[in-house]
Symmetry: C3
Subunit: 216 residues, 3 copies
């Protein structure tokens, strides 16, 4: 059982598909990987967050292994992105949008599953955040980049906010599809604000920040 | 219990020793590590796949911690490779052969153990593949290289094929030493074809592939 | 339950705080991360070793999730280091000292917890060592450096010695605060000898070692 409501399962599957597309496009852009490498990175990105979540709450083997739809969507997303990648020109925008979709969906589902497994409020928020940022962090590390969650532009914060909204509405007895969509929507919105305006959290006092994207 | 048959245990221990040698040679070649670094990378490479496998199926503490022979073989392989490394000249070939031995042994053992723990056919195949490629992926990530499983030259595919043969023969009631050796042999053969001929899976449509080894 | 004695809990919390400060300073120095990235790396560094430990012995959700003090100290340490970083000039020394404090505390606590969970002597020593070096290894990997545990200068060895002392005193019925402090103190001392004198374990026979720090 990942989520009780079919519509929340849909959110989980959408996140998986989005991260599958994203992982594949990242593979094409950053390292010119071949089809096996592209699909492998798609699967790791799509399933990484959920595997971390399930290992940390002790629900093993992970749900992503037990339900074939996760793997099918991750591989399907990877193949689709591989086939379309040469038409997408500069991949920056689709990569960021798809990453934001996966981040939002997984932060909500992660926090929700943690509560269903009896975790306290605080740990459930942490676990939701880890679920959201986990797949992308493994993805970036494998292709040799400092992970987005460290380079920021509002990455961990939106996931944290979504996890807080999810946990708060569960505690208040108000959780359901609407609450999940609001939480995911707020996360997605915050993340896209960060992407579009290149906003970063403040640097250490006394330093002038340089844009990390200029440094590679 | 990792495997019931003593001969399958032997396969597991051979894989551990091969990955121990491989991890140590990789450490010597890529980063000029000292003896502690070399042995550490040997142990991580040799035990990484099995630890991932056991954490993902919930068999903790991992078998590699409970049976001293795994650690002894990993450390022994690391020390031996460290002592011999200056005689091996260019380390490319022994590194690749040893890696292929470990990949093959672990893919078979991983799939077999997953079935013994009651996983379904699909998850067992995934788990076998992860067990095979896991140690090498952690190894490459730690020394700052894009992992072989992404750079490919037939790396994930041979492990996947070995896991499929293993799971299929278990389902058909034909699994045993012969089946395990066939599965591992096919994996080893496919992987060596990839190494010797530098074969890569096809790149994205519309791109001309460059050999990733030329790019570093 | 992480440790029975309140004073051992203190050791665990001190290690968490030290690694929080260390992770944040590392983030400031190596990658000019903004405040979110700095605090994120602080939390990962401070909680990484304990999470690995708890996943490997099957005590999930990890203790660091269930007790809010760990997260508070990790975040607090991260914010404090962020605020003070511009006053610390060259961050090399505080980074190394704080890392040695965390390494020492976590190696002892990890070995002690492993024994409390019924692991054998050998596995408990390995687990203590992993707990000590785990957070720093994840930290270095995320910021794109070959981890300290591979580059050495006495890093894995001091943690291993602390774990051996811890396990030996537990076996002898002599474990308690004094034994824990001795084990941690020996680890800290050995590590600082390595830092101060730049000592490395010997390189492969037939090679002249270059200082890895000169190679970046």
């Amino acid at each position: 059982m990942t989520v009780e409501l079919p519509l929340l399962l849909a959110l989980d599957l959408i996140g998986t598909f989005a991260f599958g597309l994203n992982g594949a496009l990242t593979a094409v852009r950053t390292t010119q990987l071949d089809i096996v490498g592209v699909v492998t990175l798609a699967v790791i990105t799509a399933m990484g967050g959920g595997i971390l979540r399930d290992v940390l709450i002790g629900d093993v083997p992970p749900a992503t292994f037990r339900d074939w739809r996760y793997l099918a969507l991750a591989v399907g997303g990877g193949l689709l992105a591989f086939a379309l990648s040469h038409r997408l020109g500069r991949l920056e925008l689709p990569i960021n949008v798809l990453d934001a979709v996966g981040l939002s969906a997984f932060a909500v589902i992660g926090a929700s599953k943690a509560m269903a497994f009896g975790l306290d409020v605080g740990p459930a928020v942490i676990l939701g955040t880890i679920t959201g940022v986990g797949g992308g962090t493994i993805r970036d590390t494998l292709v040799g980049q400092v992970p987005m969650v460290l380079r920021s532009e509002l990455y961990a914060i939106p996931a944290l906010v979504a996890a807080v909204i999810t946990v708060a509405t569960i505690q208040a007895g108000l959780y359901g599809l609407t609450a999940a969509l609001v939480a995911a929507g707020v996360c997605f919105g915050l993340r896209m604000v960060g992407v579009v305006f290149g906003l970063n959290a403040p640097g250490p006092p006394g330093t002038r920040r340089t844009d990390p994207r200029e440094e590679g």
